[in-house]
């Protein structure tokens, strides 16, 4: 291979990707970060403000509320998705009848446009017209009714559940793929040694799936920091921005309040957070592998 790795090949083959990526991802980010140091309404000239937007951000109560909500969603979605999608993958990896149909159906939410995912769930979670509270009523358990969305408490948890629903099949598929990579003879050998199902999973499967697990983890982390349509459709960030996530809050500042500069400073912080958490995660897991 070494003698084919000529410099001009490397450069030639990398250039198209790097060029498109630099012009349409990196350059826009730089421009957006640039605007985060200005006051700009989207029209006319931007006015340089220095770090004023960032100072404002740290004093902004709503920023901290959206931060808190995003972290709730992150922790809940991370734990639920990572464990349950792994367990479901273990289940569906058995030779059961109609298991392919089940896999396909579980994957299906991932193909619906996120906007529609939001609309569907409004009809399930809405405190008045949603199916959950109506069923609780019909069962005579009205006491259990909650403002699943649109209240002050439950919204981020509900968003996490919706996100879970949307991503489950996608991640299950990745885990099943990982399970298929484990050579059968390894598992056979374990069986002969008389390991219980739990031991098999704990000491054989999980260690062998480390790289799959970290792919899934990275997809969950970066995904959570992009959740937008689900929130927009279910609560619109309300009541009074209390269920806002970092992305939706930054959207509302940018486009609804036409405060493009401040919106971009929020977006920059969100982007950095996502990068940092992904970085910390890879750092932690890398240490363990050694």
């Amino acid at each position: 291979m070494y003698w084919l790795s000529k410099k001009r090949y490397k450069i030639g083959l990398l250039i198209p990707t790097l060029l498109v990526y630099s012009v349409f991802i990196v350059l826009p980010i730089i421009i957006a970060v640039g605007y985060s140091f200005t006051r700009y309404s989207g029209i006319g000239k931007a006015k340089f403000l220095g770090i004023a937007n960032y100072v404002r951000l740290f004093k902004d109560k709503l920023f901290w509320i959206s931060f808190k909500n995003t972290m709730i969603i992150f922790v809940l979605a991370f734990v639920l998705l990572l464990t349950l999608s792994f367990l479901i993958a273990l289940l569906l990896n058995h030779h059961l009848r109609a298991v392919d149909v089940s896999k396909a159906l579980i994957f299906s939410p991932a193909i619906i446009a996120p906007i529609i995912v939001g609309i569907i769930w409004v009809y399930i979670l809405d405190p008045n017209i949603g199916i959950i509270n109506n069923i609780l009523d019909a069962l005579g358990a009205s006491g259990l009714k909650q403002k699943w969305i649109g209240g002050e408490f439950w919204s981020p948890y509900s968003i996490a559940i919706i996100y879970f629903w949307q991503q489950l099949g996608y991640l299950v598929t990745i885990f099943i793929a990982g399970l298929k990579m484990i050579p059968n003879d390894v598992l056979e050998a374990v069986k002969i040694d008389g390991a219980t199902g739990f031991q098999e999973v704990r000491y054989v499967i999980i260690p062998m799936m480390k790289s799959t697990i970290s792919t899934v983890a990275v997809l969950i982390i970066t995904g959570v920091f992009k959740i937008f349509e689900i929130v927009q459709q279910t609560t619109g960030g309300g009541p009074n921005h209390l269920s806002e996530t970092l992305v939706t809050y930054s959207y509302s500042m940018t486009f609804t309040s036409s405060d493009y500069g401040y919106g971009m400073s929020l977006a920059t912080v969100t982007f950095l957070l996502s990068l940092i958490i992904t970085g910390v995660y890879s750092f932690l897991t890398r240490e363990k592998e050694r």
Partner: protein, 441 residues
């Protein structure tokens, strides 16, 4: 091997040619608005804030159709349509690269920024040439003037207040509200509706901060118009005695259970649906919903400005017939005489008596006032409005929520709904507005 390779290269070449061909072919069709139409007429674009004007802004659609028919072969107006949110983004982007349509709708809180950026045409010349239109507008155009001149003209005229369902009032035995009905009377009304399991006043806050029209009247009756200039100038705070009293009234409504329980998860459209279905007794909105009410509620509809406040020092005899958002003209239009002529011809038609008639037919109040305009007997909702307007009270020159720029406007909406949903105390809510004003300076 060689012929195989040749074949492969040929097919690659073919594919790339097809791709390039389609790319360039579509490139030319997707290009900027061509000024010449198929029949040699001058084509002007009208950027509008709904994706489907035929259904969603039918009056404007009809006026444009009538204009196009009348001027076939000479001028043609084409819509550039997108939903409100996309439209607002699109216009900003278009302003940055000079691709604004010739005429377009703008949110009133955003238009001054466009004017400052110098992308809008001063329409003073147009008004001075067409004095009959100026007279018909009757001063309504003054809402859209600044140092750069007449940057826009009112798109329509909004009449905002509370519609009520007479049938439900009869059912619970409450008298219909009148010009004299006070806030205390209203609280009594609410209690009756609550007892009977009817939502008193339907409203939704999800993505619908703008849907606070009935409270423009409330703000006006606590001296908004009198004080806003000194507040914006920094001489006074939003958190002042008058507005605190005003916001306390909203709090009172919330405590009396005036609003739907799920107001946080329903949008304005859903709230309207509750009213249409006869599940809510009152709904605050404007004339744009008339046609829908005629269909759903019919002759049982009534219209009311909202309660008067005995503890307010300000004039209570306030109507709310105000200019809606402006339509504006791209400054570049002046560079091409033919286009300018077409645009002015269209504006002339848009503000003509003929267009006003089309407007009344669709239960929309045009920005113009011509003699002898009236609604037909079956336009119940519009007639209800006309009855209320008959008292002849003065309106503020601009609706309160349109007197401030977008960031403060957003804060106002957030504060109103925050008090109504009891997430903020009146003082907290007003502080947020002061903060937003401070941040936007």
């Amino acid at each position: 091997m060689n012929s195989k390779r040749l074949k492969k290269w040929c097919s690659v070449a073919m594919v790339s040619m097809v791709v390039v061909g389609t790319l360039s072919g579509c490139g030319s069709s997707g290009k900027e608005s061509s000024k010449e139409g198929d029949g040699g007429e001058v084509v002007i674009n009208f950027g509008i804030h709904v994706a489907n004007p035929k259904e969603q802004e039918s009056v404007t659609y009809n006026i444009v159709q009538a204009f196009n028919e009348k001027n076939a072969g000479k001028y043609k107006v084409e819509f550039q349509a997108a939903d409100t949110e996309s439209h607002s983004k699109n216009m900003k982007l278009a302003a940055s690269d000079n691709t604004l349509p010739e005429i377009f709708w703008l949110d009133a809180s955003e238009a001054p920024k466009y004017s400052n950026a110098g992308v809008l045409l001063d329409l003073n010349d147009f008004l001075n040439e067409n004095t009959e239109i100026k007279a018909a507008l009757g001063g309504m155009e003054s809402a859209f003037t600044d140092d750069n001149g007449q940057y826009g003209l009112p798109y329509q005229c909004n009449v905002q207040g509370i519609f009520y369902n007479k049938e439900l009032f009869d059912k619970v035995g409450v008298a219909y509200p009148t010009d004299e009905t006070t806030y205390e009377d209203m609280l009594g009304m609410l209690a009756k509706f609550k007892e009977n399991g009817i939502t008193p006043l339907s409203i939704g806050s999800k993505n619908s901060g703008f849907a606070m029209w009935e409270f423009n009247e409330t703000l006006a009756r606590y001296g908004w118009e009198e004080n806003i200039d000194s507040i914006l100038a920094g001489d006074k705070k939003f958190n002042n005695e008058d507005l605190v009293t005003c916001f306390e009234k909203l709090k009172g409504l919330a405590e009396a259970g005036a609003f739907p329980e799920n107001m946080a998860t329903i949008e304005y459209f859903d709230a309207k649906q509750l009213f249409n279905e006869g599940k809510a007794a009152m709904f605050g909105t404007g004339q744009w919903d008339c046609a829908e009410f005629d269909k759903n509620i019919g002759e049982k509809i009534g219209f009311w400005w909202g309660p008067t406040f005995t503890d307010s020092d300000y004039d209570q005899e306030v109507a709310m017939k105000v200019p809606s958002a402006p339509i504006v003209v791209n400054a570049e239009v002046a560079e091409d005489e033919e286009v300018q002529e077409a645009v002015f011809e269209f504006l002339k038609f848009y503000y003509s008596k003929e267009a006003a008639e089309l407007s009344y037919e669709g239960s929309i109040f045009p920005a113009t006032n011509y003699e002898g305009m009236s609604a037909t007997d079956t336009q119940y909702a519009m007639n209800a409005m006309l009855d209320t307007l008959a008292s002849g009270w003065d309106s503020p020159s601009t609706a309160p929520d349109l007197t401030v720029t977008s960031a403060v406007q957003e804060a106002l909406y957030n504060s109103l709904f925050g008090v109504m949903q009891e997430t903020y105390t009146p003082e907290e809510a007003l502080d947020l507005m002061d903060e937003a004003l401070e941040n936007s300076k």
